[in-house]
């Protein structure tokens, strides 16, 4: 039964749950891209002349940056200490911590 019209509070709860799922999905994309970057980074540490691995690494960097920028626009900064900007009020302490997601 769709009672969202009679109960605006219920609709809000549904949207919040949906938004949380979207947040986790966007975060998962970042985690997947960053995993590729970490794996290639360690490989390149011991194979610094592997041109193909280097090309793969370099191609991941702009994708990861783009995913992080899209996420941060919706859900606040993933980085502190001058690497991400914030809206008012200071967003760093307002977004959920990783262990609570």
């Amino acid at each position: 039964m769709d009672n969202s019209q009679e109960n605006p509070q219920a609709q809000k709860v549904i949207i919040t749950a949906c938004d949380h799922n979207n947040q986790l999905a966007m975060l998962l994309e970042i985690q997947q891209l960053q995993f590729i970057a970490i794996e290639l980074n360690l490989y390149l540490d011991t194979h610094p002349d592997d041109q193909q691995a280097l090309m793969s690494y370099n191609s991941i960097v702009p994708q990861l940056k783009q995913s992080i920028a899209s996420y941060e626009q919706l859900y606040g900064p993933l980085f502190h200490f001058g690497l991400s900007t914030s809206q008012l009020t200071w967003q760093w302490i307002n977004s959920p911590w990783p262990w609570d997601m």
Binding site: L24, L27, L28, I30, Q31, Q34, F35, I38, E39, N41, L42, Y43, D45, T46, H47, P48, P77, L78, F79, H80, F81, L83, W92, S95, W97, P98, W99, M101
Partner: protein, 190 residues
């Protein structure tokens, strides 16, 4: 300098509270072969490494291990969230509760606190890189034992990820050991 990134390296979900599983998994937080030992060992050994490859790899794996410590902490946190003191005690975490309530602490599975002698830095790069390979294998074994003990498929999934990382690290340390051996041999004159 280190910068914090406000997400886990790998997502952690659990099926529900499970203090019994938390009690054994804590060893990968603060046990001899756990992630605290790993990250501190590698980051501390960097200063006496003779090659940039070795310095780079120890920096990067040491940093990844800090991320793994956060993953293990998150598993323990989620498995004990909302668990009563009585349930903690029934799961063998009575001592943990008495000393730390629901807080995290660097214990092994038997409640023995972390000590610095779990790690070594001899200043001999061959010895230290060999210790690092050994440490990765011990961590792999520990994760395999935890996978055997786990009755939570979502936690098992994370443990499998962490186990695989130990195998990759072992491989990279082996390559670095070969490289450093070559470097050291090239420096010797008989």
């Amino acid at each position: 300098m280190w910068i914090y990134q406000k997400n886990l390296e790998y997502p952690v979900k659990v099926c529900g509270p499970n203090p019994k599983l938390a009690k054994v998994i804590i060893t990968q937080y603060g046990g001899p072969d756990g992630e605290l030992s790993a990250s501190l060992r590698y980051l501390n050994q960097r200063y006496s490494m003779p090659t940039d490859k070795a310095r780079g790899l120890l920096t990067d794996i040491g940093t990844e291990e800090m991320g793994h410590m956060e993953i293990v902490a998150t598993i323990f946190y989620k498995l004990t969230r909302g668990v009563s003191p009585q349930q903690m005690e029934a799961a063998g975490l009575g001592g943990h509760y008495a000393q730390h309530n629901h807080a995290l602490f660097w214990n092994d599975a038997n409640g023995v606190p972390w000590i610095a002698s779990y790690v070594q830095a001899t200043g001999d790069p061959i010895t230290d890189l060999t210790e690092d390979m050994d440490a990765e294998q011990k961590a792999r074994s520990a994760y395999e034992h935890l996978i055997q003990l786990s009755d939570d498929p979502l936690v098992t999934d994370v443990l499998r990820f962490l186990r695989e990382r130990e195998i990759v690290h072992f491989q990279r340390f082996g390559e670095t050991l070969n490289d450093v051996q070559g470097f050291m041999n090239s420096k010797k004159f008989f």
